[in-house]
């Protein structure tokens, strides 16, 4: 039973979507300004077909890896009596919060195994599976145990229960997670640079660096816009009418956890293997860099420590600011998507994903172009970078909030309204407090991505500032690994905190309490 969509909510959501679509529109205008001939010549100059094939192949190969690791990991952590599963849960989320460029530099330094296509697939597969993991874990916690018990009583084995009862119910969460992964893979750039793998994004990057042919780069972006739209419509068709993480309401029932017995050994081996690739290599690299730096004399590392504090300060500042802004922008969209139905709702909610239509770099250039032409006061300001990062990572914030908001019973908001609380007052006194873990998770997610953001910072960072990421990149690209080490250490430390917060807050509702983990 859906009531009318409040006009104010609708208006706010339209504004948010307008912000998201702004870079796309600016880019299209830029591309057309260069004239059709300039655009076509840019497309001809680059081996467009190879790039297209590269991009699509990476996406197609990496997405299933995320699906398998994400679903398997979530199942083992949530539904088995696996030892140390709490620790595993945090560690399994960590790859998402470790900046992708740190991971890819670490892999590149391990050897050529991880370079090229294989490395590109691996970096997407092993750093983005936690999105699937988090969403599926929430869905698993919300499943009605009675369904599995009934299936068992009808004679299904535990394998049969998983494939015929559990997996179909996870479909909306799984598809939602895979969509995010695929969209992100399309426009990933930072991770691919170190791995020397060419996709549209990296070619666009080259276009900007070489001749700063804005229109040529913009023309190339048409491809990513089209691919993004194809994915969005494809997922919508696959998903059909299934609801997202709309799970059981009220008090959480205790779920049955399966005893793994001897099967624990291969399962532990699988999880440790995943973590070895995704977490141990970056951490191991860091340790190696530190030991090398002490061997080569402390001077290089020590001289850089003067930059460490300002860089950390700037990174955390930008991260927190864009996280807060993203939470503010995402909340109305998430509420609209969870509480209302209809074509307008679907269109607005989907439109937020258009922030994936452009590689971050292109979006940043578009915003800079927009500011320099129409809002001079914004040009070169810190706020523009904050805005760009909030917009670019908005879909993650929306998804994180939906996972929590979907579990808050609408009747609680109805009760508040009947007690005289207005719409805004209900949001502040009931919805937001209950959704606090979800808001924190959304903010932490955006914070982590902002920390791992290089492309946008490259274009929009105010001139006199530097971040942990830019410092790391400066030194590591000039093979001054010892000098890069302290910045990598700070990034990994922040990533660990983010991973812990993310795991403990994602998809939780305040007051319902965690299920007793026995």
């Amino acid at each position: 039973m859906t009531s009318r969509i409040p006009r104010r909510l609708l208006a706010v959501c339209v504004l948010v979507v307008a912000l998201v679509v702004l870079p796309v529109v600016v880019t299209i205008v830029q591309a057309l300004q260069g004239g059709v001939s300039a655009a076509t010549s840019a497309l001809e100059a680059t081996s467009a077909r190879t790039l297209l094939v590269h991009t699509v192949l990476v996406t197609v190969a990496a997405t299933p890896i995320c699906g398998v690791i994400g679903v398997a990991g979530a199942w083992f952590v949530e539904r088995t009596r696996l030892p140390w599963r709490r620790a595993f849960a945090v560690l399994l989320v960590a790859p998402l919060t470790i900046p992708a460029f740190v991971t890819s530099y670490a892999w590149a330094s391990v050897g050529s195994v991880f370079q090229g296509f294989f490395g590109a697939v691996a970096v997407i597969g092993f750093t983005y599976y936690p999105i699937v993991f988090l969403l599926v874990a929430v869905a698993l916690r919300g499943l009605d145990p009675a369904l599995e018990e009934t299936a068992q009583s009808l004679g299904l084995s535990s394998r049969g229960v998983f494939f015929r009862v559990v997996l179909p119910q996870l479909r909306p969460a799984l598809l939602g997670g895979l969509l995010l992964v695929a969209l992100d893979a399309l426009v990933e750039l930072d991770a691919f640079v170190a791995l020397k793998f060419q996709t549209f994004s990296s070619d666009i990057y080259a276009q900007y660096r070489l001749g700063f042919s804005a229109s040529g780069a913009a023309a190339l972006s048409f491809f990513s816009i089209v691919l993004c739209l194809v994915l969005l419509f494809g997922e919508a068709r696959l998903r059909g009418n299934a609801n997202y993480t709309r799970v059981s309401q009220g008090a959480r029932r205790t779920v049955t956890r399966y005893r793994l017995g001897l099967a624990s050994v291969p399962v532990l081996a699988f999880l440790v293997g995943v973590l070895a690739v995704s977490v141990c290599i970056p951490v191991g690299m860091l340790i190696k860099w530190f030991t090398e730096s002490s061997a080569a004399g402390r001077s290089t590392a020590a001289s850089n420590l003067t930059y460490l504090w300002p860089a950390t300060y700037t990174s955390v500042g930008f991260g927190v600011a864009s996280a807060l802004l993203a939470v503010l922008l995402a909340l109305p969209v998430a509420i609209l998507a969870v509480r209302h139905r209809g074509p307008a709702v679907t269109a607005l909610e989907r439109a937020v994903y258009l922030s994936f239509a452009l590689p971050d770099l292109v979006a940043a250039v578009a915003l800079a172009y927009f500011a320099s032409h129409w809002v001079r006061s914004l040009y070169g300001s810190a706020f523009l970078l904050i805005l760009a990062e909030a917009i670019l990572f908005l879909p993650f914030a929306v998804v994180a909030m939906r996972a929590t908001l979907g579990q808050i019973e609408p009747v609680l908001e109805d009760s508040a309204r009947s007690l005289g609380a207005g719409a805004l007052s209900t949001l502040l006194r009931v919805t937001a407090p209950l959704a606090r873990p979800g808001l924190v998770a959304a903010g932490v997610l955006v914070f982590a991505f902002a920390l791992g953001d290089l492309s946008t910072a490259r274009v929009l960072l105010p001139l006199n500032l530097y971040t942990l990421g830019t410092q790391f990149q400066t030194y590591s690209s000039s093979v001054a690994f010892a000098a890069a080490a302290p910045f990598a250490a700070a990034l990994l430390g922040l990533a660990a905190v983010a991973a812990y917060l993310l795991m403990s807050r994602f998809g939780e509702v305040r007051g319902l309490g965690k299920e007793s983990s026995s």
């Binding site: 007690l419 005289g420 007051g511």
Partner: protein, 348 residues
């Protein structure tokens, strides 16, 4: 407190009519129960009155103030001063019991806490619960807190949506009593929505029966039970024995007896006769012979299933309070006590 009036309320979803022409008047300080099966539109009506749904036609007014008038007026739910007790209470899990009860009070009163204690007393809850959390309470206690929360701001009308669902029988009776007392204590105008006929008949000053989106009858419980407007309603509000008969001059003849007095509408000719099972008494000497084909023990009362010795083999039920029930296959004699209601033959 004020009276509640719904006039010609109608609502459709995508071409499906959910409510049509609903006229309801709840006098000030009384409780009206809206009784309906699932899908009858009772929840929709309730949501329209609170203001969660706009109506297509008609209007809703409380104490003379129009709250909703199709296409013209739609006061927001938070401005209507209508209390709402949702199914299973819907207490805010992040707040304590006291904070829940104080939720609808003005800021200054929220702090003071006097009203909260007053409300806990009203619904018969120990003041010690005030600092507890909703999940520490039993189902019945949660419903009481929900009522206290709804009553605290002094609403003009309180709507209760199946407030006793999911409670076991003993707790249900106890909670029902506490709610009744609290509502009476505040002289509250209230509407209770339920699918349980016993609950509706026992709690409502008046009972309004909603069927297929229409109010078929609004009457005091006794009138509804004894003189329902049609046979479907008769069966809905309680168990019914319906047999064919021939009516003339205020009496009716049927298989179960001759010259039975008719109450309510008087029809002439062939009719259907409504008899409640408790009117059918076992008799040692007089009456119609019937064979016992089954019996169910229900505690205080027992229900006997009987087949009459007539060519049609009419099946009837009799409610009895006797402790020794006749065995299956035994023949008993039955007669009808009191007056009966008659309906035209076309009704089913």
């Amino acid at each position: 407190m004020s009276d509640l009036r719904c006039e010609g309320v109608a609502k459709s979803y995508g071409g499906r009519v959910v409510l049509s022409g609903v006229d309801l008047a709840v006098p000030e300080g009384t409780l009206t129960a809206i009784l309906g099966a699932s899908g009858s539109g009772k929840t929709t009506l309730l949501r329209i009155v609170i203001g969660f749904l706009p109506l297509d036609h008609g209007r809703v007014a409380v104490g003379g103030t129009v709250l909703a008038d199709a296409g013209r007026v739609h006061i927001a739910p938070d401005k209507r001063l209508i209390g709402y007790v949702a199914q299973e209470g819907a207490l805010f899990p992040h707040l304590t019991v006291a904070e829940n009860v104080a939720f609808g009070l003005p800021r200054a009163q929220r702090r003071a806490g006097a009203r909260v204690l007053e409300m806990l007393d009203l619904v018969g809850l120990d003041r010690g619960y005030a600092r507890g959390r909703p999940h520490e309470l039993s189902g019945g206690e949660q419903r009481r807190v929900a009522l206290a929360r709804a009553l605290a701001p002094g609403p003009r009308v309180v709507l209760l949506d199946e407030p006793f669902s999911g409670l076991d029988a003993a707790l249900r009776a106890e909670t029902r009593e506490a709610v009744q007392q609290a509502l009476a204590g505040e002289d509250t105008t209230a509407v209770l929505v339920t699918h349980d006929q016993a609950e509706a008949l026992s709690m409502g000053r008046e009972v309004a029966v909603l069927r297929g989106g229409r109010l078929v009858q609004t009457a005091e419980p006794a009138v509804l039970y004894r003189d329902p407007v049609d046979l479907e309603l008769a069966r809905f509000v309680g168990e019914a024995v319906v047999v064919p008969g021939y009516s003339r001059d205020g009496v009716v003849d049927c298989e179960l007896g001759t010259s039975l007095p008719v109450r309510g509408r008087l029809l002439q000719g062939s009719v259907q006769v409504l008899i409640r099972p408790e009117q059918i008494r076992l008799s040692q000497v007089d009456g119609v012979a019937a064979e016992v084909v089954g019996s169910s023990y229900r505690g205080a009362d027992k229900m006997l299933r009987l087949v009459l010795r007539d060519p049609a083999g009419t099946r009837i039920s009799a409610r009895t309070f006797d402790d020794d029930l006749p065995a299956n296959g035994e023949t008993v004699r039955v007669e009808v006590a009191g007056s009966v209601a008659v309906f035209s033959e076309e009704e089913r």
